[in-house]
Symmetry: C2
Subunit: 409 residues, 2 copies
């Protein structure tokens, strides 16, 4: 018998009506003769409500207690989903992450799954039950402590369960019917992508697409778990995410992704000395400030400019250490520019097609869009532009790479 | 070092502000040099909210899943309370019922505590931590299943912990400052009771006083745990509930309790034959209908009337089996009277003072209050009267037995 893992996010279980809908989606797989394991998120808004209560007491409250608090959200969802399943005649049982044998490294609020002891899940499956597992949580190894996997990590629970159970497929149900080649709010006729490689999905997630939790895709890639991103509301095929293979569409670029959540920091007038960059980024990492893109230009007089992008939410923390950053490199000035957007083109086709970068730069230039920073990987090109050009840049590139329904490449 | 167990009910932790107040009440005991264990209920309204969601799906949903759902309420409270304790500099840790070693018989929604493995609680106490334990829940013996102890059972968690830890005292914090000799809504100047025996408190709970969960008092009596019912909002001594001893006040009657939640069922014109009562009450027990008072009168012609009281919420279930009840005893008629109230006088003093019942009956008669049914125990007399006389009856008896502040017996 095939095992299917289904994952329902917060929106999909956001009300009793929607939970009933999920129960029907589970029933569809059961009726098709599959064994079904479901990973469920907290009802939408619930995790925020709970952590909001915690913040009211102390925004810096103990990670252990925040996990004790937040892990209740998923427990509520699994119980309600199982009740809805019973109501339509499906035998089912709910398991918390610890009950489902999900063992983590014990890092509160950001635990990683170390292993899954799936004995109990398999027992219930063999009894003919659907097993609903609380996402986002697990038991710290060799202890009796509840840990959460970090926001959005119910995807990871689903994929880890699928890997552990050698599931035929892991279906990630969401409020969209798949992954699109561009944000439909910007490009209403963006193509839906039928098939993506793990690599592309990872790059898309890393440059700002919010479809799947990055870690879940890494996990799926590592264990070759076939993923499908599909709609909770429409019964149509979604986007399949699998190993790169010949059946992949041969488009050069699969998607254009914009990210407006970064700010650009520039230190200018730096005496270019070996080791200065290391000191800068060492300090940033000490302060838990993640850096994305980095560009360094050396001018004619030996004075360099160093630019990097950070999450906008880290801007206050940069301001706290502004003087230290400047003194490390003897910089004249530190500038922070929040009005930027990162536009990325992602596609495995780039591996075999030359000239994608130049097509991208030329098209943006034709529209008078200045490129402030560039960063590339084997299957991705990212450009930082002024944020007022976001929509124009995305539409221009979708057009160039044939990513809208009406257009043909 | 003395161990004090504190219990905070739903109202006491009903908001962040109130949780902060509870943290201060914990700090008071810590500052006094005590080791403190706290049992906490769900925030007021939370259990109803959760079970309301379940009812929306299916009022008859699986008890196991209802427990999975409802047990989250207390988990939220303990985490928030511990955050509030940390914030005021008190070292503390939260434990779910299972983590605290509370082992139950596994009966979902109405589990009984079988034993407490207090190893972990003692370990944390010895580390100088306050331990906040989720009330109302425990792990089913030899399993990994969460069970709840039934509504209001956080009192029982507190008392069981106190017994297991040989605590010096178990303080039940609530929104009133103690147990009163009568409902203050009816008798505004009712005396606060300084000291009660377990026996009296049990009788009061059994006749309808809602101060403490009955099972918690039984537990306290069994293990001689000194209880105090006291206010979360005012720092004044509450009501101490202990073994009956010479220090008890020598009042004849300690309290007058009214209960308007019962209905009276009368089967009339019964041929009085041995065994009919057994058949009637066998059928009721089969249907899970609890019977409180029972009175049977045999008339002159050998025809009897059988009356009993049940919870008002069971009236629809009585109506379902009305014809069967009548046919069992060949009764002419089955009458249900919901307009009744049970007025009880409770006091250990009755053991040594004769004539309490006759004083009670006479005073009610003087006020033209008809007594419909009577039931007595060693330390309690209950009378059923028409419910319109409730307030008058309670005030009359408070007056008779000196239970108001202004009066003297």
């Amino acid at each position: 018998m095939n095992i299917i893992v289904q994952k329902f996010g917060g929106t999909s279980v956001g009300s009793i009506e929607r939970i009933r809908n999920c129960a029907n989606l589970v029933k569809r797989e059961v009726d098709a003769g599959n064994q079904v394991v479901v990973a469920v998120s907290a009802m939408s808004g619930e995790t925020n409500r709970l952590l909001g209560l915690a913040d009211e007491i102390d925004p810096a409250s103990s990670p252990r207690e925040r996990d004790m608090l937040a892990s209740t959200g998923e427990q509520v969802s699994i119980a309600l989903l199982v009740m809805a399943l019973h109501k339509i005649g499906i035998d089912a049982i709910s398991l918390t992450g610890p009950q489902a044998g999900i063992v983590t490294d014990g890092a509160y609020m950001k635990a990683h799954i170390l292993e899954i002891d799936n004995t109990r899940v398999l027992k219930h499956l063999s009894q003919g039950k659907v097993v609903a597992v609380a996402g986002f949580q697990g038991l710290a190894k060799n202890s009796d402590e509840v840990t959460t996997l970090g926001r959005g990590a119910s995807d990871t629970t689903a994929v880890a369960l699928a890997a552990s159970l050698s599931a035929t497929r892991c279906d990630i149900y969401t409020d969209v019917d798949g992954v699109y080649a561009a944000d439909p709010r910007i490009v209403p006729n963006a193509k839906k992508i039928n098939r993506l490689s793990y690599e592309e999905m990872l790059e898309m997630a890393s440059v700002g697409a919010k479809v799947l939790h990055t870690r879940s895709v890494q996990f799926a890639a590592k264990f070759s778990v076939p993923l499908q991103v599909r709609s909770s509301f429409e019964d149509i095929p979604g986007t399949f995410i699998t190993k790169e293979n010949e059946a992949m569409e041969t488009t050069v670029v699969s998607a254009i992704v914009q990210n407006a959540n970064e700010a650009k920091v520039t230190l200018s007038g730096i005496k270019d000395q070996p080791g200065t960059a290391a000191q800068i980024f060492g300090l940033l990492s000490e302060r838990n400030i993640n850096v994305d893109m980095i560009v360094q230009n050396v001018g004619t007089e030996g004075l360099a400019d160093l630019s990097f992008t950070i999450d906008k939410s880290d801007v206050p923390r940069i301001k706290e250490i502004e003087e230290r950053l400047k003194s490390i490199v003897n910089a004249n000035e530190l500038q922070i520019d929040k009005n930027i957007a990162k536009i990325s083109a992602v596609g495995v086709g780039m591996k075999s097609h030359a000239g994608v970068a130049s097509r991208m730069f030329r098209r943006l230039a034709e529209r008078s869009i200045n490129i402030r920073m560039i960063s590339t990987s084997e299957i991705k090109i990212s450009c930082v532009v002024d944020d007022e050009y976001t929509e124009l840049a995305v539409r221009t590139l979708c057009d160039e790479f044939g990513l809208t329904e009406a257009s043909e490449e």
